[in-house]
């Protein structure tokens, strides 16, 4: 969407224009749903949470001041709702997270001859492996990975969305990718190429 057109659409959404908000949903529903689905790991719950994201956005559009981009604002709502849901369900972060073996990143460096990124092709099985690898991560790592590598947000935008320093964003991204590297390597050496 062009910047001018998006500005106009946002202005109409601020005035609670239902038709304009419908277009806004059209523009963002797949991205928000994709993010939420990977955060909650359940399609039905993801559908509910995504609806809630857009309802909250509609309710609070009058207070959107434009200091951040609308995408950052929307994903902040999505992120907060995912965290709320996780707290409500009392789910603790999964095993892969801070303090894991990948903390210093040394052992994950790409010196392993079996690790050939250029030869990686996303077939259905590898997609499933990567999705499982993402689902295994702690929420904090997953959020950063999805916002950066899926939504192509900058480090600064993610830092603003999650209210953490840029350095924290980078280290979380590194840990998240390192975990995925290890998952894919394991798949290639034990499963996929065997």
């Amino acid at each position: 969407m062009e910047a001018g057109a998006e500005e106009a659409l946002i202005e109409r959404c601020r005035r609670q224009d239902v038709e304009a908000f419908g277009k806004f949903v059209d523009a963002y529903q797949a991205r928000v749903y994709g993010f939420v689905k990977r955060m909650v790991s359940n399609a039905d719950e993801a559908a509910d949470v995504t609806q809630e994201v857009f309802i909250r956005a509609f309710q609070s559009f009058t207070r959107f001041d434009g200091r951040s981009s609308v995408r950052t604002w929307l994903f902040r709502i999505a992120n907060n709702l995912c965290i709320d849901r996780s707290r409500r369900l009392g789910r603790t972060p999964k095993a892969i997270g801070f303090g894991s073996d990948y903390e210093d990143g040394e052992e994950m460096e790409v010196s392993d001859s079996r690790w050939q990124p250029e030869s990686l092709a996303l077939d259905a099985e590898l997609i499933q492996v990567v999705e499982l690898g993402i689902a295994e991560m702690s929420e904090k790592l997953r959020m950063v990975l999805l916002l950066h590598d899926r939504e192509e947000m900058s480090y600064e935008e993610i830092a603003e969305t999650l209210s953490v320093p840029v350095g924290t964003v980078k280290s979380r991204l590194f840990l998240a990718r390192a975990h995925l590297q290890s998952v894919v390597k394991r798949y290639m050496t034990e499963g996929g190429n065997a």
Binding site: Q16, V18, F21, G22, V25, Q29, A30, R31, Y33, G34, K37, A43, A47, T50, Q51, F54, I55, F58, Q59, G105, M108, E109, V110, W115, P117, E118, L120, L122, L126, I127, V130, E131, I134, L145, L146, H148, D149, R150, E152, G167, K170, S171, L173, F174, R177, A178, L180, Q181, V184
Partner: protein
């Protein structure tokens, strides 16, 4: 700073970029049509109270204000007025006479008119007191 540079370097390494591309290449999921229509219904439901609120704000509130002002005006214009006893109209004189009578009656007691009270205060002298006994 040095640590940050190291992290930047590692994030830009070939292996990390490959993972990034892999994540980027994951297929997109699109919510179903029924999900979308359900969302539309909820958005419309959210929007309706807003319209009702506007109606209330722009029509009902001024109407209530006007009603209150009209009621106040009615009270001011048609407030009960005490009878005018200071004027010179017939009604005023009748009211004044009546009020005087009431006042006199409360002072002198029942049964005496104003004229009787005046006569009593100035009795006519009787020439022969025995004449009076004739009445018995």
């Amino acid at each position: 700073m040095k640590d940050q540079n190291q992290v930047d370097e590692k994030l830009n390494s070939e292996g990390m970029r490959a993972i990034s591309e892999m994540v980027k290449g994951l297929p997109d999921d699109v919510p179903s049509m029924s999900w979308r229509s359900q969302l539309n219904e909820r958005i419309l439901a959210e929007a309706k109270p807003k319209k009702a609120f506007d109606l209330h704000r722009w029509l009902l509130r001024p109407a209530i204000g006007l009603g209150l002002a009209a009621a106040l005006a009615l009270v001011v214009v048609f407030r009960p007025i005490a009878p005018d006893t200071t004027g010179s109209s017939v009604e005023s004189l009748m009211i004044a006479t009546h009020q005087d009578d009431v006042n006199y009656a409360s002072v002198t007691g029942a049964g005496l008119s104003v004229d009787e009270m005046t006569e009593f205060s100035n009795p006519t002298p009787v020439a022969d007191p025995l004449l009076d006994l004739d009445v018995f």
